[in-house]
Symmetry: C2
């Protein structure tokens, strides 16, 4: 996934990033560049580059005479794909999965509505193809193939919305869907109702029916929320 080994500083990030996002250093903790460089057996230049990246993610703050202090979680750039990946790989994976699913429930219906207005005929075709792929893999423990088409489906919706902010959430949705399949729920075949909803969304988008595409997608995301027991009492 992404760019595994892009140099020494990348290796440092792969270790230090997850540690920080996992909360191993409480907010306010102070790290020293020199000590870190020793620990990872890299030069100070490399360590400084890694710290700069963490700083740009608002995970830490570097100040003279003080050191590199860890910032509270509330200040992190939680939309940074790298940060999301680190958190999904760590201890607060459940919380991250929940907050991202809620985000999906807000974004995707609106994106589907916009897609119904702006999707090209090519994108409509892709969408239909994805939906059919989901149907084809919806029975008989073909979870891998199902996931593939599910991810592609939602990527097309987000992309076809014509909004760049929505489009860039494709990776996030992919992570959530993948995480969901690999982890807790869905050891069985997917809910047939969900599959049907996807097909109907594809139809609505093709028909240019924004309201229906939005409503149907809302039903899909409600299902996703229920799977994680996020619901209104």
């Amino acid at each position: 996934m992404s760019t595994p080994g892009r140099g020494l500083h990348g290796h440092v990030l792969d270790t230090l990033g997850p540690e920080i996002t996992a909360g191993e250093y409480p907010p306010g903790s102070v790290l020293r560049t020199d000590e870190l460089a020793q620990r990872f057996d890299v030069s100070r230049s490399v360590m400084r580059e890694a710290v700069r990246v963490l700083e740009s993610m608002h995970l830490v703050e570097s100040r003279r005479r003080v050191g590199v202090t860890v910032r509270p979680k509330s200040e992190w750039n939680v939309y940074d794909p790298q940060v999301i990946r680190w958190r999904l790989a760590g201890a607060d994976r459940p919380q991250q999965l929940r907050s991202l699913t809620v985000l999906r429930s807000a974004i995707e219906p609106v994106a589907a509505g916009l897609a119904a207005r702006h999707a090209t005929s090519e994108q409509c075709a892709e969408l239909t193809e994805c939906a059919l792929g989901m149907v084809a893999h919806s029975r008989g423990h073909k979870l891998e193939g199902y996931l593939f088409h599910d991810v592609a489906f939602h990527r097309v919706i987000l992309s076809a919305s014509g909004n760049e902010m929505f489009a860039r959430l494709g990776d996030v949705v992919a992570e959530v869907l993948t995480g969901r399949t690999q982890h807790d729920v869905m050891f069985e075949d997917p809910d047939p109702a969900a599959v049907t909803l996807h097909v109907r969304v594809a139809e609505a988008v093709r028909a240019g029916d924004a309201a229906r595409a939005e409503e149907l997608t809302r039903e899909i995301t409600v299902g996703a929320l229920q799977e994680l027991d996020i619901l209104a009492p």
Copy 2:
């Protein structure tokens, strides 16, 4: 705003970041670290740190023997507050403002619904205070005071939603509202209907009426979309 001069590498970013996000270097353009270091009159170490930050934002990609290549806009980390700020300060400010307003229209209603469920009594009080402040500054060219309370209002909503992803959009909403006030529309007093809607949202949240809070907020965001001529024909 944020952290203006955090060292030499920060100064480099303040110049190079806006240039790239403004599209001055077409995707695929190649920059050389040494040349950049000369241009900004900094050492290579400083320049490397700046490049690393740009790389973590997916604005550029650094490869051996080829140089620092600019990535297409579709790959940028458009949720990075720094990137958003650079783009808002540059040429595609209008497009950025539009896409962010659409994002708001998706997020804020859902956030308001969640806030109605999760807001503490303190947050409810804050919300009411903000709404009252908006009313008090809604007439007689008190735009500055109005904006202040408007921003605070939406921050509280997003924060009270209890979702970290929503909460972190407070800065983005602040930028959008500020940008809207300072720029095109709203040289006159704000729309009285919008002011009333904010008051009613505060009431709904306090009453714990999620559906109503969501619907009322949706009306607010629809108004924001209309101001930018983003609407369904």
